[in-house]
C-alpha cells in the first residue's frame, strides 16, 4: 500500500539534489531573461561616462551672451547615438539658468543652431568637413576620435587604458568665442 510522501520536509537526499538542480535551472532562466531586458535598456558604461562628461563641461563653459539669449542650451549628437538614456537624463536640466535640450542629427543640416555638438566616431569620414562647417561659430565641439582636437575640435574624449579622459584645444575654443574655465583646462590632458 502506498503512502503519500509528498511532504517537502521529508525530501530524501536524492530529491534534495534534484530540487537543487531545478532551483539552479530556474535561476539560470531568470537571469537570462532578466539580462536581456536589462541590457537592451542600459547604454554602455563608456557612454554613460561620456554623457556625464558632457553635462560637466556645460558647467565650465561660457558662450557669448547673444548665443544663449534664447534661454536654452542645445546639445546635439551628430551620427550614431550610443548614449540612449544616459543623455536623456540631462535633457530638461538647467545650467546657470539655461535649460538643456538634446537633439539628434544624421546630417549637418541645421547643426549651426546647436551650442554643443558631439561628433560621433561614426562620422570619422566627414569629421573634417563638419568641423570646417562649424568653424568660427559659438559651438562647443566634442569628439571621440584620435586627433579630433588636432583637426580643430574643441574637446576630445579619449580612451586611456580603461578610463575616459579629455583634451582641450584652447585655440579652437577661443576661435569659436567659447570661454573655458581654468579649472577645466587644468583637469584636461596636456596636448
Amino acid at each position: 500500500m502506498g503512502t503519500i510522501r509528498a511532504n517537502p520536509i521529508h525530501l530524501n537526499k536524492y530529491h534534495r539534489s534534484r530540487f537543487k538542480k531545478l532551483l539552479l535551472i530556474a535561476m539560470l532562466l531568470v537571469s537570462v531573461t532578466a539580462g536581456y531586458a536589462w541590457s537592451e535598456k542600459t547604454p554602455a558604461i563608456e557612454y554613460q561616462v561620456k554623457a556625464s562628461y558632457i553635462y560637466n563641461f556645460l558647467q565650465f563653459v561660457e558662450w557669448p551672451p547673444e548665443a544663449v539669449a534664447g534661454g536654452t542650451i542645445i546639445v546635439c549628437v551628430l551620427g550614431e547615438d550610443r548614449f540612449g538614456a544616459a543623455l536623456q537624463a540631462i535633457s530638461g536640466e538647467t545650467v546657470r539658468g539655461q535649460k538643456i535640450a538634446v537633439r539628434h542629427f544624421k546630417g549637418t543640416e541645421g547643426l549651426d543652431a546647436c551650442h554643443a555638438v558631439f561628433v560621433s566616431a561614426s562620422e570619422l569620414a566627414r569629421e573634417q568637413s563638419v568641423l570646417q562647417r562649424l568653424d568660427g561659430r559659438p559651438i562647443l565641439t566634442i569628439g571621440e576620435t584620435s586627433g579630433f582636437t588636432d583637426r580643430g575640435g574643441v574637446i576630445n574624449l579619449v580612451r586611456i587604458a580603461n578610463n575616459i579622459r579629455f583634451e582641450i584645444n584652447q585655440q579652437a575654443a577661443e576661435h569659436n568665442y567659447i570661454k573655458i574655465s581654468a579649472q577645466l583646462l587644468q583637469l584636461g590632458l596636456r596636448r
Binding site: 535561476m27 532578466a34 561616462v49 553635462y55 537624463a89 540631462i90 569620414a125 578610463n163
Partner: protein
C-alpha cells in the same frame, strides 16, 4: 552592480584554497543571481552627480570591434587580451594559454611545454596551428610547435585569439583541433620608452627595453629587445632544465591612406634550453629570424584586401647526440573579401609556401633520407557567408590544399549562426580537417627499430560542434561549446613501420564565464571537460599507443581568476587552476594557485610581486614517458616568487 558591496565578501573566499570547490560553485551562483537582482537598476553612474575627477577614474572597458565580431562568430573563439595577460602575471605565451577553456597546457620540464586544443596533448602536439601575425610557427619536421623557442615577448602582444575546432577552411592544414593566433601591437600604441627588470627564484632574471617613435607623417615604429634566465625545475635525480633566451625585433606601421595600411616586422631570437635528468643531460640550442610584410586595404564599401609575405628561418641543435634542423620557409598569401548584394559576404584567397630543410642526425641506427628536402604547399579557399534571414547566417567554405606528402586535401565546412540580438548567439558547425604527414613520419630510417613510411596518409577529422554565447547583462558574459570529433587514420606503428591504423572519437564541453562585479573587481571561470576514446583499426595492432593517447589528457580542468583593485594604485590578482590526472602518464591531478600584486606609485611605473604555484613545493604536470615504463624521477614544476618593475615614459 555597486562597486565592492556585493562582490567583496565572495572574493575573500576566492583566496582560501581549502574552500576552492565550494568557491567555484558560489562563483557560478553569484554570476547567475547577481544579474537578475540588478535588473531593476537603470544606469551605472549618476550622470548629473558625478564629478570630472571621479569620471576620470571610471573603468569603461567594453566591447571593441573584434569583440563584437567574436560575439557573433560561428565558432568557439576565446580572446586573451593584453590586460588579461598582464593581470595573470604569466611570463610566457603557453602559460597564458592555461586561461583558455578547451586548451591543454602542461610543463614537460622547466623550459619545455606541451600545448594542445581538445586533446592529444604532448610536446609534439600536431593538431593545432600557431600563428604569430599570420606567420606559421608549426614545425613540419615533427608537426608541432617548439614553444620554448617560439614564445613571444609578452609586452609585444596585443591579444591572442584561440579558435577551438577545425579552422582548416580559413587557416589551412593542421588547424585540426584549433588555431592559436598571436597578434602583436600596432607601433602607434607603443610610442615612447619602456624598460623592465625582474628577478626571482624560478624567473631568475629578466630585462626588457622598448622604444617607439614616429619617423614620418603617419608612420610609427618601434624596436625592442629582451632576455631572461630561468631556473631548473625539481627532480630527485638532479635537474638541468634551466634556460636562457635573448630576443629582439623591429616593427613599423604606415597608414598610407584612409584605406591602406602597411605593416613590416622583423624578429630574431637565440636561446639555450637544458634537457634531461641526472647524469644524462645536454643543452638544446634554438635560433630563429623572421620577417613579415603585409598590406591591408579596407574600403568604405566593406571590401577588404590583404597581401602578405613572410620568411622564417629556424634552427635547433641538440649537441650530443647530434640532432639538428635548419629550416627556411617563404610564404605568400592574398585574400579578398567583399559583399555581393545584401545576402552574400564572400572571402576568397590563395597561398603558396616553400619550405626547405637540412636535417642532421648522428645517432646510429637513426637516419633521415633525404637529409635535405624542399617542399611546396599550394592552397585556394573560398567562403560564402549567406544571410538567410535577418538574424540567421549560413557559412559555407572549402579549402583545397596540395602538399608533397599526401597530395590534394579538401577541407570543407558548413556553419550556421543565429544571432537573435547583439548580445547572444547560437551556432553549429560540421567540418572536415586533415593533419598532413610530417617529415619524420615519412622519411625516418631506424632499422630494425622503426621505419618511416612515405605512403603515410594524412590524419582525418570530421567534427560536429555547437555553441551558445551571451552577454547576460552588461557585466556578465558566458560562452559554452560542445563538440564531438570523429578521427580516422591516426598515427600508429605497425610492425615497426609508421602507419595510419588508429581511430577514435573525442567529446567535450567548454564553458567560460566572466563577471565584472564592479569597476574594481572581476571574476573569470573556465571549465573544460574532455573524454577520449581511441581504438585500433580492425587490422591495426598498436593497442599500446591507443591506450596511451586515450589517457594522456586531463578529463576535467577548472581555471578561476579574480582581479581586484582595492585602491587607485594597487591591483591584486589571484589565479586558481585544477587539472585532472593524466592516467597513462602517471601524473596525478593537481590544484595550484598564483597570486600577484601590482603597485603603481606614479604614472608609468609598475612594481609587481608575484607568487606562482603556491600550493605545493613541486608537482609534475606532464611526462615524456608512459606510465608503463619504469622511471626513477620526473621533471616537476616548482613554487616560485618574483619581483618585477617596469617604467614607461
Amino acid at each position: 552592480m555597486q562597486p565592492g558591496i556585493s562582490g567583496q565578501p565572495w572574493c575573500k573566499r576566492c583566496n582560501c584554497s581549502r574552500k576552492i570547490a565550494s568557491g567555484f560553485i558560489k562563483c557560478l551562483l553569484w554570476m547567475l543571481i547577481i544579474p537578475s537582482l540588478s535588473f531593476a537598476r537603470d544606469l551605472d553612474i549618476d550622470i548629473k552627480g558625478t564629478s570630472i575627477e571621479r569620471l576620470m577614474q571610471v573603468n569603461v572597458t567594453t566591447v571593441s570591434r573584434w569583440e563584437e565580431d567574436l560575439q557573433s562568430s560561428a565558432a568557439a573563439v576565446y580572446v586573451l587580451t593584453r590586460e588579461t595577460i598582464h593581470r595573470s602575471h604569466v611570463t610566457s605565451v603557453p602559460e597564458a594559454l592555461r586561461l583558455v577553456p578547451g586548451v591543454q597546457v602542461a610543463k614537460v620540464d622547466a623550459n619545455k611545454w606541451a600545448v594542445s586544443i581538445r586533446g592529444f596533448n604532448s610536446r609534439a602536439s600536431n593538431k593545432l596551428l600557431v600563428l604569430i601575425d599570420g606567420r606559421s610557427v608549426y614545425d613540419p619536421l615533427f608537426t608541432g610547435v617548439l614553444w620554448e623557442a617560439r614564445d613571444v615577448t609578452l609586452d609585444e602582444i596585443e591579444r591572442i585569439e584561440v579558435v577551438r575546432g577545425p579552422g582548416g577552411t580559413l587557416w589551412g592544414t593542421n588547424a585540426v583541433n584549433g588555431v592559436i593566433n598571436i597578434i602583436t601591437r600596432h607601433a602607434r600604441d607603443t610610442q615612447g620608452v619602456k624598460m623592465s627588470v625582474g628577478a626571482g627564484t624560478e624567473e631568475r632574471a629578466n630585462a626588457g627595453i622598448r622604444y617607439g617613435w614616429q619617423p614620418g607623417n603617419n608612420i610609427h615604429a618601434r624596436v625592442y629587445a629582451d632576455g631572461f634566465e630561468r631556473d631548473t625545475g625539481f627532480s630527485t635525480a638532479g635537474s638541468h632544465d634551466d634556460s636562457q633566451m635573448a630576443r629582439a625585433g623591429f616593427r613599423a606601421d604606415w597608414d598610407v591612406s584612409a584605406d591602406d595600411r602597411v605593416m613590416f616586422k622583423v624578429d630574431a631570437f637565440d636561446g639555450k634550453f637544458g634537457t634531461g635528468m641526472g647524469d644524462n643531460f645536454q643543452d638544446l640550442e634554438h635560433q630563429g629570424q623572421s620577417f613579415i610584410a603585409r598590406w591591408d586595404r579596407d574600403r568604405t564599401d566593406g571590401s577588404q584586401t590583404t597581401l602578405q609575405f613572410w620568411y622564417d628561418r629556424f634552427s635547433f641543435n641538440n649537441v650530443s647526440p647530434d640532432f639538428g634542423e635548419d629550416r627556411d620557409t617563404y610564404d605568400i598569401e592574398a585574400q579578398h573579401a567583399f559583399r555581393a548584394g545584401d545576402v552574400h559576404h564572400i572571402v576568397f584567397g590563395a597561398g603558396y609556401r616553400s619550405t626547405s630543410d637540412d636535417i642532421s642526425i648522428d645517432l646510429p641506427p637513426v637516419s633521415i633520407e633525404p637529409e635535405s628536402r624542399q617542399d611546396d604547399l599550394y592552397n585556394l579557399f573560398l567562403q560564402d557567408e549567406i544571410s538567410l534571414a535577418e538574424h540567421i547566417r549560413l557559412i559555407l567554405g572549402v579549402k583545397v590544399e596540395r602538399n608533397d606528402y599526401s597530395g590534394t586535401e579538401w577541407q570543407p565546412n558548413a556553419r550556421i549562426a543565429w544571432t537573435p540580438n547583439k548580445d547572444s548567439s547560437v551556432w553549429g558547425a560540421i567540418s572536415r580537417a586533415v593533419r598532413s604527414p610530417s617529415r619524420l613520419e615519412s622519411d625516418i630510417k631506424a632499422q630494425p627499430l622503426l621505419s618511416g613510411n612515405p605512403d603515410f596518409d594524412s590524419e582525418k577529422l570530421l567534427a560536429y560542434e555547437a555553441g551558445y554565447r551571451s552577454r547576460l547583462t552588461e557585466n556578465v558574459w558566458m560562452d559554452a561549446a560542445v563538440f564531438y570529433n570523429v578521427y580516422r587514420k591516426l598515427f600508429s606503428i605497425e610492425n615497426r613501420v609508421v602507419d595510419n591504423k588508429l581511430r577514435g572519437t573525442t567529446a567535450g564541453v567548454e564553458i567560460a564565464a566572466s563577471w565584472q562585479a564592479s569597476s574594481a573587481m572581476s571574476c573569470d571561470i573556465a571549465y573544460t571537460y574532455l573524454n577520449m576514446d581511441i581504438k585500433t583499426e580492425a587490422d591495426g595492432t598498436d593497442e599500446a599507443r591507443a591506450a596511451l593517447t586515450e589517457d594522456s589528457d586531463p578529463r576535467h580542468q577548472v581555471v578561476l581568476r579574480g582581479t581586484w583593485t582595492p585602491f587607485n594604485k594597487i591591483e591584486v590578482d589571484a589565479l586558481f587552476r585544477y587539472v585532472d590526472e593524466l592516467r597513462a602518464l602517471d601524473v596525478p591531478s593537481y590544484l595550484t594557485a598564483d597570486l600577484g600584486v601590482d603597485w603603481r606609485p606614479r604614472k608609468g611605473l609598475v612594481v609587481s610581486a608575484v607568487a606562482q604555484n603556491l600550493l605545493d613545493s613541486h608537482h609534475p604536470e606532464q611526462s615524456d614517458v608512459p606510465a608503463t615504463v619504469p622511471r626513477a624521477s620526473s621533471n616537476e614544476v616548482q613554487r616560485g616568487y618574483y619581483l618585477k618593475a617596469s617604467w614607461e615614459f
